[in-house]
Symmetry: C2
Subunit: 339 residues, 2 copies
């Protein structure tokens, strides 16, 4: 990662692009008003989603799936919201370190804190996964779950994305929001299964995705219950409990949901095991990869990216005929604020 | 625990008792036909449940709680189903050891297996928690989650309770089943939060309680995802992942549900932290303890019991005015098969 990711000369380009987008979509307005997937172009990906949902929800179909088994799981970073130039939660961690720095003068000479405070992403990269975990532990522990929720909510209201200049909770993909609504309208239960921290996501998921806290699965730190003289709290400890990524995604799905999803969407190799697990359902199932192909409206990255690497997953998707949402070709609109 | 717990001279007494029960309830039949809590006597416990539910579900009430926050959590052993003379899952473990014994001739000379095979509960007790864990590991691992589900389902169909001579899935408390239905009819989301194994409960919870797999929280062993050449499985490992008891119940609730329950029911000190957590809700909340006071229709035990000890919890319930369901006085009927 380079420092330059925080400085975006693309802002002007972006605005001109979204203006174009608005112009071109005007002609469609009357036609698409009733279309629940109106931010999707009428290409094969959209059609395969619709055909699939029709097949499993039509009680006369051989592929009919009872409502209780209509479990749909979605990765979050890069699948439902933007994960570039860095994971939203990493930006939060860095902001939080800077906010906490005045109470920790020792950090100014100590890595990885020094790099975090100075926004020195090269230095941070040098500190590796261990450095990131150290920062995570210091910013996600020592507080109660209620306090942490308030910290996240406040940050979400104020922090802005360096390129789009909107709060991070606005950087959700409009076609995916529509897809969530569309599935729920067909009695699917929609879950998030993300490598992100569960308590970082929950304060916003209901508002931005219509997904309640109890349908959000993510990574966790260990916590402890304290009775606290009749005012019990749950405190976050500086210790990793579970990293909800790769082969641990199906493990978490089995542990928490206890049913095999019939619909799974992701965007990286970290989601591959979850998609494989879903593909092994006895029911007809659908696997969807979001492929970041649009460097103009969003970001283009896949096989060689540090964030959201999609390599083995793309091979299997092509091999097994999974659905691939090519952002540039399949999505009429990327973000709602483009309109 | 004594060997004699497997031999029940009370069977005759039980039958005479249930016959009485049927006779006495006939007169009420017309009156109670519309009562969703008809297995409850019209005593204060029933009334406090009804008053509470009315208060939080009436949109004109100052205590109104939005549907999204109507989370109700229930312990399972001793709260929803019978836990005497031993936890259902322990009976399952012993049966399973006996079933597996022919392939393990070495067990006939090796504790705790020898005791398990011989039904020597004194010997088992001597082997302590470590012995029980050894048995648990051997009966709950080395199989896939799908295989384990089939084993549990088959056992549930065949094994019978030594006293009541019915399958264990029939030993559910009728008043609690009604309570679950009553809460759901008022848009509560009902969860099980039990020390029992989550994969031991899930095969039956939907059928016997109307609680789907994804609303069952329990203890877990570690599992691993294996791609298995395109036929992925999740295998159960001989290692404890999480024991969902005592202070870890609110921890699990926070981790998996992410909302504080407004209704919590248990029957032992193992549920106390969960009830305390619920009692600290910003919303009006209700805590319910099932008190096993009925030695005739079920079992009488509390402060000095090895199974389902209720001591500190009873003190706090009395102190804080929590609801206590006195089985003998509050429950018109205990089991559905009494009818």
């Amino acid at each position: 990662m380079k420092k330059s990711i925080f400085i975006f000369p693309l802002l002007v380009l972006l605005y001109s692009c979204t203006t174009q987008q608005n112009d071109s979509s005007k002609a469609d307005e009357v036609v698409v008003v009733q279309d629940p997937l109106s931010a999707w172009n009428d290409a094969s990906t959209k059609q395969s989603i619709i055909s699939y949902v029709n097949a499993v929800t039509d009680s006369a179909s051989a592929d009919f799936v009872p409502v209780a088994d209509r479990i749909a799981v979605f990765d979050n970073d890069g699948t439902l919201w933007c994960e570039q130039p860095a994971y939203t939660q990493l930006i939060f961690v860095l902001d939080r370190i800077r906010e906490m720095a005045p109470s920790h003068p020792e950090w100014s000479k100590q890595q990885p804190f020094k790099a975090a405070i100075e926004g020195d992403l090269d230095g941070l990269a040098e500190s590796g996964m261990e450095g990131l975990m150290t920062l995570l532990m210091h910013t996600h522990s020592g507080v109660t779950t209620d306090e942490f929720k308030e910290i996240v909510e406040s940050w979400m209201k104020n922090a802005k994305h360096p390129r789009y200049n909107v709060t991070y909770d606005q950087l959700v993909y409009q076609p995916m929001i529509e897809l969530l609504h569309y599935l729920r309208a067909h009695n699917f239960k929609t879950y998030i299964v993300s490598g992100g921290g569960v308590e970082f996501m929950r304060p916003v998921t209901d508002r931005i995705y219509g997904i309640p806290a109890e349908q959000v699965i993510g990574s966790t730190v260990k916590t402890v219950f304290e009775y606290n003289d009749g005012n019990p709290v749950i405190k976050k400890l500086p210790e990793i409990d579970f990293i909800d990524d790769k082969e641990l995604k199906p493990v978490a799905i089995n542990k928490i949901i206890g049913k095999k999803p019939i619909f799974a969407a992701g965007n990286s190799d970290g989601d591959l095991a979850m998609l494989q697990w879903s593909a092994s359902s006895d029911h007809k199932s659908l696997q969807l990869y979001v492929h970041h192909t649009d460097s103009v409206r969003e970001y283009a990255y896949d096989r060689n990216s540090h964030v959201g690497k999609l390599d083995k997953g793309l091979d299997q998707a092509l091999n097994d005929g999974w659905a691939v949402a090519d952002m540039e070709k399949d999505w009429k609109r990327v973000f709602s604020f483009e309109k």
